[in-house]
Symmetry: C2
Subunit: 218 residues, 2 copies
């Protein structure tokens, strides 16, 4: 019975996600659903990406249970941004995104980031109309995360391992993260970065630019 | 409609949680629902607590989406432990706990830890029959967490701020965490610890012993 309800909710969500995707495609905007556990550094990654955008026109939808801190951080970079407060819900869904599409200049964007609620579980189940999912993992979360939270690693096109500057101070084996993540998702693209020191960010932005560009041409 | 379904699920859950609680009370065991985001160090805190247990009889229920790594880590300390795999679900519920109660020697325990799935949102909504909720926050997650994930801070009796040894290497204001957490929950007991260096753990274990002891007497 419970499974039936959940399946219905997911089917309704997927239908709205397909409608969102049509709108994004019509506007020629490439959409990234950015997911991680709490405090892995999603907003910091967006700040650093915006600082290196170099002509790429980026918009952001911020998802949080409460507050507008993240949208304020993004606004400083002059990017169009909308804050969604889920009011308790632990993930964004397609309907929440559909509701705010009129508030963004989609035709003037190359790339739209949808920053999901900090949660390593539920966001992976709900499509929002994205072209790809990207997940972020803080090295401080430990090397056991891929095997403990497999769905998000399986659903993502890229894994950004953040806070790599903390490596000397935590007992974490990054090679185990890479190995276990690849065992779950052999095509996963991986980056090691530090939003604090700037390490590794150029490779991430370069890949993002190429990936969004390919989409535009195709 | 969705709200109605959710309310029904929560009501059914609370009923089973009350039954669990009766069983725990009958056995004289004090039950702690331990919650945090992924990788904040719940299992590490349990390891350190077990190492300092000094006569306190502690059992553990481990909740994970997949895997049994955490139960294996607890077993080394000779504590009775049961692993629950939620198979995708992002939190434990009262029914999952009810199912495993027969697998633990409740009458021989003073204290039972229920380690929830790593998630800063959903576990706070589902009672499992606990006497109190304790939440753990890794300092690496940042000082914006109380205001972004208010429910868990409101529901918890104690907040353990972990990985305090990383303070020199992250741009995090611990006093802001304390201030915002207290604004949400004025009675919140707070500890700053490092499971890596051992700092602050004696105060935590001492408080836990006193709190479980009071329950036993009352």
């Amino acid at each position: 019975m419970k499974v039936k309800v959940a399946t219905k909710i997911l089917e309704a969500n997927d239908r709205i996600a397909r409608e969102n995707r049509k709108i994004f495609d019509g506007a020629g905007v490439f959409v990234v659903n950015l997911m991680s556990g709490p405090g892995a550094g999603k907003t910091s990654l967006l700040e650093k990406t915006l600082a290196k955008k170099d002509g790429l026109r980026i918009g952001v939808i911020e998802g949080d249970i409460a507050g507008s801190d993240d949208a304020e951080r993004i606004e400083i970079f002059g990017a169009p941004v909308v804050q969604i407060n889920t009011g308790g819900a632990c993930h964004l869904d397609a309907n929440m995104i559909s509701d705010v599409l009129g508030d963004l200049p989609l035709n003037e964007l190359d790339l739209l980031f949808i920053e999901n609620v900090g949660n390593l579980v539920c966001p992976a189940e709900f499509k929002v109309g994205e072209d790809m999912k990207v997940m972020l993992l803080s090295i401080a979360e430990g090397h056991d995360k891929p095997l403990k939270y497999p769905l998000m690693f399986q659903e993502s096109s890229a894994l950004v391992i953040n806070k790599i500057d903390l490596a000397p101070y935590v007992d974490v084996d990054v090679s185990k993260i890479r190995k276990d993540a690849l065992s779950l998702n052999p095509g996963l693209k991986m980056f090691e970065v530090s939003c604090r020191t700037g390490e590794g960010l150029d490779a991430w932005v370069q890949w993002l630019r190429e990936t969004a560009g390919k989409h535009r041409v195709s």
